[in-house]
């Protein structure tokens, strides 16, 4: 009798205690969150609104020096014509002939091939979590993803790709763009980012695949055509809507790169690559992978 009472009491006490514990952890969790967020909270608001609301009507916006504007606009014009009269029609034809899953796999393959660039740059920025995630993605996608054709690291384990390149690494250490640069075929870049891509090419396995120049260019062209076949006409939209597409793309490029440098998310205690909930080692369990 006493035993039975004890059992019932224990059962009830756990039922009643659970919400209490949960509530408590929620409160402390919230307190922690707020404690660490106060700084970034004010900073985020300052970043978001100061440019618009300081001074009578906000600041004048000059995002990047553009001393070579004449040359850049020329290249921009060339790229534009190349896009509309050659590259896009080819990409469109390719889109009709090759089914989408195949094109997505080609895109995944090239993305996976460039993973060493992201791994190396995450390490150079001491972003160990991104380093771990990218390394994990590279290993999982190269093996379970059949040489990178599929992206189970994202589609099953939910680990997203983190874009990293040497231009961003330099930005992370406080090196500015220098000036804006439009490169033939490549498109918007800057002195810093163009230098960065040269450095990155040393981490690119395609460089060591013993390809001749023509073959290498062919591979790059194929990669671009394939990527464009999956793009929902972004460039057309910009051309259609912007007053001056050159200025619009320049501003968008600089803002996007600024957001990607993202220095604010860095803290010194992010040293553990297995930190956080991003990792799910069940991914290496084939039963789980097949949904069993």
């Amino acid at each position: 009798m006493l035993l039975r009472f004890l059992v019932i009491f224990l059962l009830f006490s756990t039922v009643f205690a659970t919400p209490l514990v949960a509530a408590e952890s929620r409160v402390t969790g919230k307190a922690n969150l707020e404690g660490s967020q106060t700084d970034s909270f004010d900073k985020d608001f300052a970043e978001a609104f100061d440019r618009d609301f300081l001074g009578p009507n906000g600041h004048q916006e000059k995002l990047i020096p553009d001393p070579l504007e004449g040359w850049n606009r020329g290249v921009f014009w060339f790229n534009d014509k190349l896009y509309f009269y050659l590259v896009k029609p080819v990409a469109r034809g390719y889109r009709y002939t090759v089914p989408k899953p195949a094109r997505t796999s080609v895109k995944n393959f090239f993305s996976n091939l460039a993973a060493p660039i992201r791994v190396a740059n995450a390490l150079l920025q001491f972003k160990f979590k991104d380093f771990g995630n990218e390394l994990y993605r590279f290993i999982v996608n190269s093996t379970l993803g059949i040489g990178g054709l599929f992206d189970p690291a994202d589609s099953i384990a939910g680990i997203k790709r983190r874009d990293k390149d040497f231009g961003l690494t330099m930005g992370y250490y406080g090196i500015g763009h220098g000036f804006y640069l439009v490169l033939p075929i490549v498109g918007p870049s800057s002195l810093r980012d163009a230098t960065g891509s040269v450095v990155d090419s040393f981490f690119d396995p395609a460089k060591y695949a013993d390809l001749g120049t023509v073959e290498y260019l062919g591979v790059q062209t194929f990669k671009t055509i394939n990527w464009l076949s999956l793009d929902p006409d972004t460039y057309e939209g910009v051309i259609r809507d912007a007053l001056d597409p050159y200025l619009f793309i320049r501003a968008a490029y600089v803002q996007r790169r600024m957001a990607m440098v993202g220095r604010s998310d860095y803290t010194v205690d992010m040293l553990n690559i297995f930190d956080g909930t991003d990792f799910d080692f069940d991914i290496v369990n084939p039963l789980r992978w097949l949904g069993i």
Binding site: A48, P232, R240, L247, A252, Q255
Partner: protein, 204 residues
Amino acid sequence: MKTIIFGGMLLLLLLAPAWGMPEPQQQVEEMVNSVLSVLQKPDLTAAEKRTQVSGMVQKYLNMSSMARRTLGEYWNSASEEQRKKFTDLFVKVLEGTYLNRINDYSGGTVQYLKQRVKGDKAIIDTKFVSADLEIPVQYKMIFENGSWEVFDVVIDGVSLIRNYRSSYGEIIRKDGYDGLFALMEKKVSDMQPTEQPLAPQLNQ
């Protein structure tokens, strides 16, 4: 006992206005849901969707503030007439821009991640999720004239107002206000809906 109940009811009545005031995120959700409900109707033509969405969005946007801060310091040096002309054209360009996006929509939903409010300003973090892509979309809002209104949209780190401001400022520096107005007028007339979509959207 009666007084407690009565007191409670009185308290509820007093609190009601505070509850009734729409939170900034609610405003964004209302706007997004009303637009998505039109876009997701399968039996509407593109032109019909356009007319239904047109005017639906405007009440959630603080157009006058957007126009004013897009010009930034050039707003100060503009005459009253120029300001009015700019605001009119700006509203048309902005509307044309988002109406043109209607054809691009091919499914997807919006997730609301975080709402942060500081005084009369708010930041709403959302994520647009479709089969192929995930795009972080941030709404910057201000509280003016008794309601929360969208002031800027930041898509994947790119702020629309900052983009506009840097472009428009540069055009004014080179070609003056008249040059800017001429470009805007041309853009507005180019943006009028065409019967045929620019590119066939098959098998994307």
